[in-house]
């Protein structure tokens, strides 16, 4: 019996016929995120969803650090942190023993941990509230798109509602309607990639259990011989258990309550007291569309690309899609960039998607080895990993989601000087650091991103002339190693160290907190050129 009370969003009658600037199809995690991102930038958004509630079941529970930073920018960071279960550590078990543990965020000085576990239904409910609070998102539940006509001038949609079909037009359509996207199907867009046969079983159980909040992964444990098992802690005393069943399992038989209880009892012990909250059997694919932009239609999240769950790259990849497209579409809507900027969504998110597909495919090959040789190598790695540290790098129970580095993006201005690694190069997401402002503790990332570009300027008072600051085409964010008015105080020196910054170092940040360009010494003309390049207003000049 589910303990969660699912909201039921009201059907407020059919959408009015007419023309809309931006229509989002699909009110799941990704659709709601991109709608909120656009609305917080000031755009009006129509959101259509065929259902009238949130995700059934906890589904995508692992919110990676980058997603948390994005949600912080969207005003939901504190709420997710307060409710969610934070974790940085993972432990790998082989047969009956723990073989090693790893820390995903081994350094201090970040606002957010490596991961927070939170049921997808909470995230969607809060995103819905936040969308509503902007006053700019028109949420239409029980609206199912049944026809799509794409064109260079806009998209014509047929939408089925409880009161009949309505025809609307949209300047831009964002397809966030999941792996079985009706929009993708209507356009006849094929996916290319791999389909895996192995079946998996998710069981969410409610129980009181005193165990550290860490990710636990078992290869071939005594309680589930021959398979793998993954355990995560969620809020509300809910625990996610994911069993590998093999390719021949019968999903319906496996979902029978008695069978599920027996599996869980074998794992937790005969005397363990637990209730089953949610059960789901699944298979997965690692594949994507050839392109994510089709004239006036953009595909985001699972509608664009699908991965295995190992590594938490599905939901987190989709949130990064939303983060990437929101500011670009807003720049086009407001006339500060041309349509060329929108092509960079493909240029940036296709390589990111390929990285997620490759990582999650490799994890799957390790977790479900095909053939005797693959199994021998897999087990050999695990046998070595307890005693010999080198082998731990080979253990692949999921390469956990990290922000994509948009190295090849045409929006980047290449470095013209040497910078110490791992400071963020053009295409990388900005790195957080502790700062103080007006005597209180704060975080660097809170001051970056949002509407417009920002320019991080490192140095003290006197390092920059008022005249050159006045000429900047972007908002300056001063970071000083001494306490001074109007500047973020890098009291620990961590910010300067993470950016390999010296006095007069300048770093241009896009509205999605990605580095567009950086200079050893501020030059307002170079900033203006790099900003134009990051808006696809001019081509590279070298």
């Amino acid at each position: 019996m589910p303990t969660h009370a699912y909201p039921r969003f009201a059907y407020d009658g059919p959408v009015a016929p007419g023309r809309y600037e931006v229509a989002v199809v699909g009110g799941g995690l990704v659709g709601l995120t991109v709608a909120l991102d656009l609305a917080r930038r000031g755009a009006r958004v129509l959101l259509l969803d065929e259902d009238q509630t949130v995700s059934q079941g906890s589904r995508a529970i692992c919110f990676a650090k980058r997603s948390l930073e994005i949600y912080d920018r969207l005003g939901l960071g504190a709420r997710i942190l307060a409710k969610g279960v934070m974790w940085n550590r993972g432990t790998v078990f082989f047969q009956h023993r723990a073989v090693y543990s790893f820390d995903l965020l081994p350094e201090e000085g970040h606002c957010f941990p490596a991961f927070v576990n939170l049921q997808q239904y909470y995230a969607e409910e809060w995103l819905t509230e936040a969308c509503r609070a902007t006053g700019l998102v028109e949420l239409r539940w029980r609206h199912r798109v049944s026809g799509v006509q794409n064109g260079a001038e806009g998209v014509v949609l047929t939408v089925d509602t409880p009161d009949g079909a309505v025809r609307i037009e949209a300047d831009w359509l964002l397809a966030c309607d999941g792996a079985r996207s009706l929009i993708g199907e209507a356009l006849g867009l094929p996916f290319s990639g791999q389909v895996f046969r192995d079946r998996f079983l998710i069981v969410d159980v409610v129980m009181e259990r005193d165990m550290p909040a860490e990710r636990r992964f078992w290869f071939n444990p005594p309680f589930h011989p021959g398979g793998s098992v993954l355990l995560h802690r969620q809020p509300d005393n809910i625990w996610r258990i994911d069993f590998q069943l093999g390719p021949d399992a019968d999903p319906e038989a496996e979902k029978a309550p008695g069978r599920v209880r027996a599996r869980v009892a074998a794992m937790l012990g005969k005397d363990a007291r637990f209730e089953i909250e949610w059960v789901s059997a699944y298979t997965f694919r690692c594949r994507r569309l050839a392109k994510f932009r089709h004239e006036r239609i953009f595909f985001l999240g699972d509608a664009a690309h699908q991965v295995s769950p190992f590594g938490a790259r599905g939901g987190n990849g989709g949130v990064q899609d939303a983060d990437n497209l929101g500011w670009k579409l807003h720049a086009v809507l407001t006339g500060s960039a041309g349509e060329a900027l929108l092509d960079s969504y493909d240029a940036e998110r296709i390589p990111a998607s390929d990285e997620n597909i490759e990582a999650s495919t490799r994890s799957t090959e390790f977790i479900t080895p095909k053939g005797e040789a693959a199994r021998a190598y897999r087990d050999a790695v695990l046998e070595l990993s307890e005693a010999y540290p080198f082998a731990r790098a080979l253990v692949n129970s999921g390469r956990l989601s990290r922000p994509a580095i948009l190295t090849e993006s045409p929006l980047n201005t290449p470095d013209d000087a040497a910078w110490a690694a791992p400071s963020p190069a053009p295409g990388s997401v900005a790195i957080d650091a502790p700062v103080r402002i007006d005597g209180r503790d704060d975080w660097l990332l809170r001051h970056l991103g949002g509407n417009g570009f920002g320019l991080l300027l490192f140095g003290g008072a006197g390092d920059f002339r008022d005249a050159e600051l006045a000429r900047l085409p972007v908002r300056p964010v001063l970071v000083s190693n001494t306490r001074s008015d109007g500047a973020l105080w890098d009291y620990s020196g961590v910010a300067a160290a993470r950016y390999d910054a010296r006095p007069r170092t300048a770093i241009l940040l896009r509205p999605d907190q990605h580095v567009a360009a950086r200079w050893r010494c501020l030059d307002p003309e170079a900033v203006a050129t790099a900003r134009r390049r990051a808006l696809a207003l001019e081509a590279c000049s070298e």
Partner: protein
């Protein structure tokens, strides 16, 4: 280029040690032992591009299946 000329300090001893390590093992256990040996040797080399050359060199001379 990987070394394919003679370099071993004690070829007969190496052969004997490899065979001895597999004595009394089931085919599955034997296969895992070989895999562990290969993985340790690969780490000893360190540079994966060299290991890739080794893989290619080994695949080149095998009899057809």
């Amino acid at each position: 280029m990987i070394h394919t000329e003679a370099r071993l300090t004690d070829p007969d001893g190496l052969f004997e040690a490899l065979i001895a390590s597999h004595r009394d093992l089931t085919p599955e256990a034997s296969r895992r032992l070989d895999a562990r040996i290969i993985l340790l040797l690969a780490n000893q080399i360190g540079d994966v591009s060299v290991v890739r050359e080794v893989i290619a060199a080994a695949a080149r001379v095998g009899a057809p299946a």
